[in-house]
């Protein structure tokens, strides 16, 4: 084999490997995108069935119920226009409170209840999760700008 042919083969091989890697990456990317929906969108059946997504809004005052003998909690998430009932089994994050912003990830069940697999609270007292703030804004209740003041999340 001539050196030039050999080099060409190597380059073709390398490009093919890179192509396969790119295809794998994009495929994994596509199947792991988690979309966000507001309670209003969920109530209007815009959210997908059988696929995980995120909802955000405020935890409705007085809606938090601990079930007996277990770690299951029920609460309602609202964007002030519509509310969605949520059920979650596990320990809630420190910053979870009624009347505060919350983002939950999970899927909607046939009963219309959102079954959360994860409740996120990457924010402090002053700070609203961006998704939750977005949900309120879309429902026509933009929150005060000072609510963005804090720095949330991991340091």
């Amino acid at each position: 084999m001539k050196p030039r042919t050999r080099r060409a083969l190597w380059i073709v091989g390398g490009l093919a490997a890179l192509g396969v890697a790119t295809a794998l990456v994009l495929n994994a990317f596509q199947s792991n995108l988690v979309f966000f929906f507001t309670p209003t969108q969920v109530a209007d059946h815009e959210a997908p069935h059988g696929r995980s997504f995120r909802i955000g809004g405020l935890v409705e005052q007085g809606s938090l119920v601990h079930e007996k003998d277990a770690l299951t909690v029920r609460f309602r998430v609202t964007d002030t226009a519509k509310t969605i009932p949520v059920v979650y089994s596990g320990i809630l994050p420190d910053l979870f409170k009624e009347g505060k912003g919350v983002v939950a990830q999970g899927s909607i069940g046939p009963d219309g209840v959102f079954h959360a697999t994860q409740v996120l609270a990457k924010h402090d007292e002053n700070y609203m999760p961006p998704e939750a703030a977005e949900a309120l804004r879309k429902a026509g209740h933009p929150i005060d700008r000072t609510a963005f003041a804090g720095q949330g999340g991991k340091p």
Binding site: R6, W10, G14, L18, A21, L24, V25, A28, F29, S31, N32, L33, V34, F35, F36, R54, H66, K68, D69, A70, L71, G90, I91, L92, D94, L95, K122, H123, D124, E125, Y127, P130, E131, A133, E134, R145, F148, G150, Q151, G152, G153, K154, P155
Partner: protein
């Protein structure tokens, strides 16, 4: 008075940074020695004034000067003094000042420790670093003044975020920033080389120790962040693929590729253009990472718009730095030359594979981190990219890289013979396969993923042992001790860092494969048993802290079947007085082969609590591996060839490498 002095010191530092870059570039371009000679002293002066400004801010924090807005927003008089000090970098403004301080320290170090390098090159390096410093000082002075006054002064501060009130806050950010900013030296060397048109092996050798040092600090910084997240976030995860973590991980990936590509450039004069490009990329990613984390873009792209000056400045600065250095690269790269050729099987080709895999992994992490931001910024909807994406992409890409890492050091430069490598490595290969097949049975449960992970780690360990043994037994010196001494520190450093990867892989494989996690409801007097340990919840009581009150849970831990309490764990739920925030403090019993981890959820009803009880086998090996990697880098850094004077360091193969 002190804050005004600090502000003034920043203005002086800006003037000095301007002078530093102007004098350096003009001096280097015209070859006037008098001008070039000033660069070192100006850099020293700039360091003194930036350090002065930082000291002024730290003083305001430690003395709780609540007439400074920054102090009011991020501190509180009830904080212990070390957290008041650490609060200096708890804010956006303060962390930018810390960044600038680190830059000034690195510049000062370059000025002090590179007297044996050609003066024109060093002058240009200092000039480039001066330009970066100008950018940061302007940013601080124009948009993020940490010394802004509050009139009238507040009576009390709003407190530091409770998450940050932790020893991790004292050590992690400075360490991480030292790493980030350290890549500015590699960047400055690359730009200086582009300006000079000089890319020989000597250049690579000069910039190598700086790059390795930065990489070590970054490794330790990321490790500390991971440990901190593990115990402070209260749910025992050690890596979340959170954008904040990715922001620090991307420069690490680029830096890892860079130190390997620098090795090729130093030894063989090859990969020169690629090395320069990687140096630019590593530093650019450090800049992007800093801004991603500290500007608030991640918490909300639109929060960014609340202060458009900052956003526009940051974007302009990034475009300017990255754009101009890439333009310079495009203009000068054709002069860099290709260097010597190599066979498809050779050490060069393996390091090339390492670099390609790291670069692809970097691109994949970047896609997952930045894509949601772009969509959001363009109002195309809110999405997030879950950890499964990163797991699915990152581990398959790294597995071949780790496999090659084990044999790379055996391959000869230029051309390696596969049969010879097989002869040298076959025992290591066989032992690794057999052990990896059997070990999962010992650990409890056989699964293909665990076996594969163990095999990768064992393969690295076995191959490393084989190589060290073969090298030492074939060395010409008499006596074992003499042979051990005869090997270079950078050779030991390389193997130490590679073993660190193996230790890290063991930790990840075993903890992901065999960790037991249980979230449950426990009333006082109730027991739960996991992994052979019995946990009894005794109840809770209140405990006052300096600036919080805690509810402390008491747990007795026994081995199943024994009645002796060998361990008491006391997780806390703290409520901070100033902010009213609650914060979970996990209680952990660390060990070489397992961690026992208990944290409190919330009170459920009556005296019952939601409780997390975790058994984490070998989790500490994850960070032990990181520490070994950093130690390996440090050993390589101490290699005596980096300390040789220029006269003595006639570069091997440099003549061939010169363009």
């Amino acid at each position: 008075m002190i804050p005004e002095l600090g502000h003034f010191a920043l203005v002086v530092a800006l003037a000095l940074a301007l002078a530093q870059s102007a004098f350096s570039f003009v001096g280097a371009a015209t070859g006037r020695r008098a001008l070039m000679g000033t660069s070192r002293s100006i850099a020293t002066g700039q360091f003194v004034f930036v350090a002065g400004a930082f000291a002024a801010l730290a003083y305001s924090f430690v003395t709780s000067d609540f007439s400074v807005v920054n102090v009011v927003q991020h501190s509180n008089s009830k904080l212990p003094w070390y957290y008041r000090f650490a609060a200096t970098w708890g804010s956006h403004e303060g962390s930018m000042l810390l960044w600038t301080l680190m830059l000034a320290i690195w510049t000062f170090a370059v000025a002090a420790f590179s007297r044996h390098l050609p003066e024109r090159l060093v002058t240009r390096v200092i000039g480039v670093m001066g330009l970066v410093s100008v950018g940061f000082l302007l940013f601080i002075l124009l948009t993020s003044d940490p010394f802004e006054r509050l009139i009238p002064a507040a009576a009390e501060g709003q407190d530091l975020n409770p998450l940050l009130q932790d020893p991790g806050m004292v050590a992690h950010p400075p360490m991480l920033y030292t790493g980030y900013v350290g890549f500015s030296v590699a960047f400055a060397f690359a730009i200086a080389a582009l300006l000079e048109g000089r890319f020989d092996a000597a250049w690579a050798r000069w910039s190598r120790p700086w790059t390795t040092a930065a990489w070590c600090f970054l490794t330790v910084g990321i490790m500390m962040g991971s440990i901190w997240a593990y115990y402070e976030l209260g749910w025992g995860g050690w890596w979340f693929w959170d954008p904040v973590e990715n922001a620090s991980f991307m420069p690490w990936l680029a830096g890892t590729a860079l130190i390997h590509s620098l090795a090729v450039t130093e030894k063989r004069g090859t990969f020169r253009a690629w090395t320069v490009l990687l140096a630019i990329v590593a530093f650019s990613l450090s800049l992007v990472g800093t801004f991603l984390v500290r500007s608030g873009v991640l918490t909300s792209v639109h929060a960014f718009a609340t202060d458009p000056r900052r956003g526009i400045f940051i974007l302009l600065f990034l475009v300017l730095v990255i754009g101009s250095s890439l333009a310079l690269f495009a203009w000068r790269a054709p002069r860099v030359g290709l260097g010597s050729s190599f066979a498809p099987v050779s050490r060069e080709s393996m390091l090339l594979a390492n670099n390609v895999l790291l670069a692809v992994a970097l691109a994949a992490v970047m896609l997952g981190t930045l894509y949601p931001l772009f969509l959001d910024a363009l109002h195309l909807g809110k999405i997030s990219v879950g950890p499964p994406y990163f797991d699915a992409v990152f581990f398959p890409l790294m597995a071949p890289a780790v496999f090659l890492m084990a044999i790379g050091p055996v391959a000869s430069w230029k051309h390696a013979a596969l049969p010879d490598m097989w002869m040298r490595m076959r025992w290591a290969f066989g032992i690794a396969i057999v052990t990896a097949f059997l070990l999962p049975f010992v650990l409890g449960r056989w699964s293909p993923l665990v076996a594969f992970g163990l095999w990768l780690g064992l393969w690295v360990v076995a191959a490393t042992i084989a190589q060290v043994w073969q090298r030492l037994s074939s060395a010409p010196q008499r006596g074992f001790a003499a042979r051990v001494r005869a090997q270079s520190l950078s050779w030991y450093g390389m193997h130490c860092a590679h073993l660190g990867i193996a230790v890290f892989i063991f930790g990840v494989t075993i903890v992901e494969g065999y960790a037991t996690e249980r979230d449950l409801r426990m009333a006082p007097g109730e027991h739960t048993a996991i992994a052979g340990y019995d946990f009894e919840f005794k109840g809770t009581h209140e405990l006052p802290g300096p600036n919080y009150t805690a509810v402390q849970g008491d747990f007795d831990v026994r081995r199943v079947g024994s009645s002796d309490v060998f361990l008491e764990l006391h997780p806390q739920k703290r409520t901070y007085a100033a902010s009213g925030q609650t914060q979970t403090e996990a209680s952990i019993d660390p060990g070489l082969t397992r961690d026992l981890y208990v944290s409190l959820g919330e009170p459920v009803e009556g005296d019952a609590w939601g409780v997390r009880v975790y058994y984490k086998p070998f989790v500490d090996w994850i960070w032990g591996g990181c520490a070994l990697m950093a130690l390996g880098g440090f050993l390589a850094l101490c290699d005596r060839r980096y300390r040789l004077k220029r006269a003595a360091s006639v570069p091997a193969g440099a003549a061939a490498a010169r363009p």
